[in-house]
């Protein structure tokens, strides 16, 4: 079966809505499916379970928290990644903290689905953030699936999970298609080696997995590159990465978020605290404190790309030789 990333998300939502009456969908323009992800779901499941909300992100995010406290499993869709800044308080200060603050009296099983996170080319400063490191930092489960199979599997796992989960579907991955045999839940904290190699490990997050695979292919014959996709950045599969680095001895992290205090920094630190690498590791990220500018050339200039990754790979390999 040929499956696109978008339809994988739609299918995960439909399967969980059909499987579990406590699942419902909440968000802006979800009936019509303005993001294209929820298309057809209202017709099948009705407007009570596919609920359009007024433009009140803070209230409907907390509404979902309350519904989860009362036993439901809401999925909240945000059409714009930067809206997560607006509801960071509701997710972090309430949904995430309630289980601990109440001494284990409750669970808050909410899924926040962000289709089209990161640059969408031409959408400029307030629509182009990719804010997954913030959620990893505060300890909310953070999934960034790269493939249709994982988009399905991680979204299903998120909906069934008893804690809040943010699923970032990168804009750069939404057009990916692949042949799929079986679809199944994907566990959190379990990364996957997308391409085996023995000279350098590239950790790539989300859509950058595909760029990393293209670079690895380009470099075949010169450098043997292993591509590691963590799939969830929190929890992070450190054992899986350490096993890869034990084979290659070198590390590059390819992460479409700002550099300072980012996921790449955390990954590098976690590795070098434990093993001695053959060469200093490198990060390929957005610059520190970046805001994505509008003009396409400027937008591209701020995103981590294949050229920068290629240079970083050559650098760590040369350093070691």
């Amino acid at each position: 079966m040929r499956l696109s990333y978008r339809r994988a998300l739609t299918r995960a939502l439909a399967d969980e809505l059909a499987r579990d009456e406590s699942v419902f969908l909440l968000g802006e323009d979800v009936r019509v499916g303005a993001s294209t992800i929820t298309s057809g779901l209202c017709r099948r499941f009705g407007p009570e379970r596919v609920r359009d909300t007024p433009l009140s992100e803070q209230a409907f995010t907390s509404f979902a928290t309350g519904a989860a406290l009362a036993g439901m499993r809401p999925v909240v869709e945000f059409q714009i990644p930067s809206l997560l800044f607006l509801v960071f308080e509701q997710i972090v200060n309430h949904a995430h903290k309630f289980p601990l603050m109440t001494g284990g009296q409750c669970a808050v099983p909410v899924t926040y689905l962000v289709p089209g996170s990161g640059s969408r080319t031409g959408w400029a400063g307030q629509h182009s953030d990719h804010p997954y490191p913030l959620f990893a930092h505060v300890g909310v489960v953070t999934a960034v699936p790269a493939t249709p199979t994982d988009a399905y599997g991680l979204l299903v796992s998120a909906i069934r999970h008893d804690d809040p989960v943010v699923v970032f579907a990168p804009a750069g991955a939404l057009d990916v298609r692949e042949d799929v045999d079986t679809l199944a839940p994907v566990p959190f904290g379990r990364g996957v080696v997308r391409r085996a190699g023995d000279e350098v490990t590239v950790v790539a997050v989300g859509h950058l997995v595909h760029d990393a695979l293209a670079v690895a292919e380009d470099l075949a014959g010169q450098v043997s590159v292993e591509v590691f996709d963590p799939r969830t950045v929190y929890p992070f599969d450190l054992d899986g990465l350490l096993a890869s680095v034990a084979r290659t001895g070198r590390l590059v992290v390819f992460d479409d978020a700002n550099r300072a205090c980012g996921v790449a920094a955390e990954i590098v630190a976690s590795v070098v605290e434990r093993v001695r690498l053959a060469a200093p590791p490198r990060r390929v990220t957005r610059p520190d404190g970046a805001v994505l500018p509008f003009a396409p050339g400027l937008d591209r200039a701020v995103q981590p790309g294949r050229e920068a990754l290629t240079a970083a790979i050559h650098h760590v390999v040369k350093d070691a030789r």
Binding site: S62, A64, L100, T102, D162, D237, L242, R274
Partner: protein, 325 residues
């Protein structure tokens, strides 16, 4: 609608009053760390509203929240133990004064972010009703919260989707030190009007008056009505927070405080009881609180090894493997 139970209302306001006084004493003796936001003077609101609710109904409280938790039926001993940070507390010592919660009696928690709880309660009540439970909710907040956009968004959602939530504004005249007149454009009930919600003003110092207004609203909501707002006018007898017992803040004149304290909900309700009945309730409350304080102080402090217990309901650990660096 049930009529007021004068003794029951008195017992609740008296319990909250003495609970708060005992808690302040424990703050001064270092047995409650971090201080508390005393509910003194406002007891009639929690008592009156919660008396109009059923055990299955849901409430959320505020940072000044002990009264709401107690009035909804939480055990005073486990509530006091929570304030003292003990394993035997409602939240196993993980929440403290500002987050005391007892979901078994419908208290979804005191919530220390002003204006944040209204939308949470709206979602919870909507979900319970969707699952077939005949419940309503009451969410308490102060006058400061009426300027929080999040709460106004909650008004809109609750009214739009006709979720039976009683929005209870405890207008004690001050958001910390900011007088209402300097903070609120328009009126508090006018905010409800903007969303088509019925709203009323009640004397928050009179527990029976609060009960009557709340019971009428709850009856309308159970009969299929949408959300309503009650503005209960009250006065905070003590500090915003017990830090004021150390750092004197000059924002209320002694005359104003004396005038505010003159209308005491405990006396207003107590005067409705025969003196011997009142004395009997007082003695019962005292015995309850003696036992509560003893229980709280005897409880074990939580084991630091469990500092992050319950961080995840799923039992997740953040980093899989790698050991400690």
């Amino acid at each position: 609608m049930t009529g007021a139970d004068p003794v029951g209302l008195y017992r609740t306001v008296r319990l909250i009053r003495r609970f708060e006084q005992r808690a302040i004493d424990l703050v001064h003796h270092g047995q409650i760390v971090g201080g508390i936001h005393p509910y003194l003077g406002q007891e009639g609101i929690a008592a009156g509203v919660c008396a109009a609710l059923r055990p299955a109904d849901l409430v959320t409280g505020t940072h000044r929240g002990h009264g709401h938790v107690l009035a909804k039926g939480a055990d005073p001993a486990r509530t006091m133990a929570e304030l003292c940070g003990r394993e035997t507390g409602l939240n196993r010592g993980r929440g403290g004064s500002m987050h005391a919660a007892d979901l078994s009696v419908g208290v979804l928690g005191a919530n220390a972010i002003v204006g944040a709880a209204g939308a949470i309660l709206t979602g919870a009540v909507w979900a319970r009703r969707r699952r077939g439970d005949d419940v309503v909710g009451a969410t308490f907040f102060g006058d400061g919260a009426v300027n929080e956009g999040m709460l106004l968004e909650a008004f809109n959602l609750a009214a739009l989707w006709r979720v039976p939530v009683l929005f209870v504004c405890e207008n004690n005249g001050y958001a910390t030190t900011m007088p209402v007149a300097d903070a609120v454009a328009g009126t508090i009930t006018g905010r409800a009007g903007a969303f088509g919600m019925p709203a009323s003003v009640v004397d928050g110092q009179d527990p029976e008056a609060v009960h009557a207004v709340a019971a009428a609203a709850v009856a309308r909501m159970r009969g299929g009505g949408g959300p309503e707002l009650v503005e209960a006018r009250t006065y905070r007898f003590d500090a915003h927070h017990t830090f004021e017992h150390v750092v004197r803040l000059d924002y209320r004149s002694p005359e104003e405080v004396a005038a505010g304290r003159a209308r005491d909900p405990v006396d207003i309700q107590g005067d409705r009881l025969a003196p011997h009945r009142r004395a009997q309730v007082d003695a019962e409350v005292e015995a309850t609180l003696d036992a509560a304080v003893a229980f709280a102080l005897a409880g074990p402090e939580p084991d630091p090894a469990g500092a992050l217990d319950h961080l995840y309901a799923s039992g997740l650990t953040g980093r899989t493997g790698g050991g400690q660096a």
